[in-house]
């Protein structure tokens, strides 16, 4: 168990709802769920959730901490916001799912090889490098996440798409050397670092 996780367990004990309210984005709205299931029925990836949102909300209230945080369910969110606009109680479900995924990721409990978790990490690290997305490095990073052999295989499978995009001037091979970026990248990185520090202290992420 990570230090952060041990710390959270000792702080909140069996009260997982309280923990979610304190540490998860929009977590204080979880208790408002009335279990109608509209969110689960509205989700484009609904069938792929081991526990759809409605179930996750009940599990939080029932204190099923480990089952929730180790689940890959929240990682199925495509950010389509269907659940938000349809929820009769106006729970910001998309944000809660994002918040739960982020929290599980931070505690080291989220499934290790979950592809969206890996991609999300690549994406964020990509943008804070230069301030803007480097689409080529992002795609290659994803293809090669499981090593060279599978990277080459995926790369070849995606070859036609890549060539088509290059032909249409929507992919620039030179991005591998020098991509687009912000001038004040130092300021951006300092700003993000500061924001991370503030968030950690606000949500009690700091390991004891």
């Amino acid at each position: 168990m990570s230090d952060l996780n041990t710390q959270a367990v000792s702080k909140y004990g069996n009260n997982f709802l309280k923990e979610v309210e304190a540490c998860v984005e929009e977590g204080d709205m979880v208790k408002m769920c009335m279990q109608c299931g509209v969110c689960s029925g509205s989700c484009p990836f609904g069938p792929h959730w081991a526990h759809p949102p409605q179930e996750i909300f009940m599990m939080i209230r029932a204190g099923k901490r480990e089952e929730v945080l180790t689940s890959d369910s929240m990682w199925m969110c495509t950010s389509c916001y269907n659940c938000i606009v349809r929820c009769p109680r106006q729970l910001p479900i998309t944000h809660i799912m994002h918040g739960l995924a982020n929290y599980a990721h931070r505690l080291g409990l989220a499934p290790k090889n979950q592809p969206t978790r890996q991609f999300a990490k690549l994406f964020w690290n990509n943008i804070v490098q230069t301030g803007r997305v480097n689409e080529l490095k992002l795609s290659l990073g994803l293809y090669f996440k499981d090593g060279l052999a599978s990277g080459i295989k995926t790369g070849l499978a995606m070859k036609n798409v890549g060539l088509g995009l290059m032909k249409a001037k929507r992919l620039n091979p030179m991005e591998i050397i020098k991509g687009h970026g912000c001038k004040d990248i130092k300021g951006i990185q300092a700003m993000v670092k500061k924001a991370q520090e503030i968030e950690a202290s606000r949500k009690g992420y700091k390991a004891a």
Partner: protein, 299 residues
């Protein structure tokens, strides 16, 4: 018509050599006709997109957007911020709402922004280009510069998610928004009845969960064909990319023979306003819009 001016947030995908560079080409042509001046926010950065939450968390994601807004307030005072990308708009607007309604979050954001020498005051509204067209101009105004109506061409208006939910365009229904159909019709085209108009394309999960996303894309494209559309039109760069790029993969997976062009509303408008194929960025299509290329070459 008086010249309209906005602080412009183009977003990463619209940059030269990036996946939606042809969107920007057509937006620039369209704005020229409508006498809209877009002043790029100096040194803008990525919004964090819809996938930034997992590693970025809450505050770091908001400060990325707050930096753009603070920069606009400082350098382009008095101008509203306009984004063309659906995800850029959603992220920036979400940040604005959060910071404007939560003083703790706002103070925290400003403390972080100090590191970049900026301060967020919440002065600038955040809008999508579609809002500018629909609200600041209106369909009748947009119709006026039409010199070559897209007569007889059938389009499936694929609105997708992020210009429609959670904020949406004012006065529109989340389940059946009609602004895109109306824009198509204003340009003289025919908007077919299209039941998948607000279906999610999989978003960023098209990269990480290709199988699951491609099922969505299959539904979106299939319904366009079923309803007699010759082309799909959308306001979102990621919708455009996903629905166009993966048609080959969908064909392999499902044995379909999809090959339908996917355009931006701004491309249709550029053409209807008399622009060339190049002005409309038609050379940026992976699946060429042959009919529109022929249309553009006709006087």
């Amino acid at each position: 018509m008086a010249k309209k001016e906005y602080a412009f947030y183009p977003g990463c995908s619209s940059q030269k050599g990036a996946s939606a560079s042809n969107y920007l080409t057509s937006v620039e042509s369209m704005c020229k006709t409508l006498d809209i001046k877009l002043n790029e926010i100096p040194d803008w950065n990525c919004c964090g997109a819809s996938i930034g939450y997992a590693e970025g968390g809450e505050l770091p994601r908001h400060v990325m957007n707050a930096r753009n807004l603070a920069m606009a307030e400082k350098e382009l005072a008095g101008q509203q911020v306009v984004a063309t990308c659906a995800a850029c708009w959603l992220s920036a607007r979400e940040t604005k709402e959060r910071l404007d309604h939560n003083s703790t979050l706002r103070n925290d954001a400003n403390e972080a922004l100090k590191e970049a020498g900026l301060q967020y005051q919440g002065k600038a509204e955040v809008r999508h280009m579609v809002e500018v067209l629909v609200e600041d101009f209106g369909y009748d105004e947009l119709k006026k510069p039409v010199v070559k109506p897209l007569n007889g061409i059938k389009f499936a208006g694929y609105v997708g998610c992020q210009t429609n939910r959670p904020f949406g365009i004012q006065g529109e229904s989340f389940e059946n928004p009609v602004y895109l159909d109306k824009l198509v019709e204003a340009m003289g085209g025919e908007a077919v009845a299209y039941d998948q108009k607000v279906t999610c394309c999989g978003g960023a999960l098209a990269f990480s969960e290709p199988e699951k996303a491609q099922k969505q894309i299959k539904d979106i494209v299939e319904s366009a064909y079923d309803h007699g559309a010759e082309m799909i039109v959308t306001p979102c760069p990621l919708c455009q990319a996903n629905v166009e790029i993966y048609q080959g993969d969908v064909n392999k997976r499902y044995g379909t023979k999809f090959n339908i062009p996917v355009l931006y509303y701004s491309q249709l408008m550029t053409l209807a306003y008399g622009g060339s194929a190049k002005d409309a960025g038609l050379d940026g299509q992976l699946i060429r819009a042959q009919k529109l290329e022929e249309f553009a070459s006709k006087k």
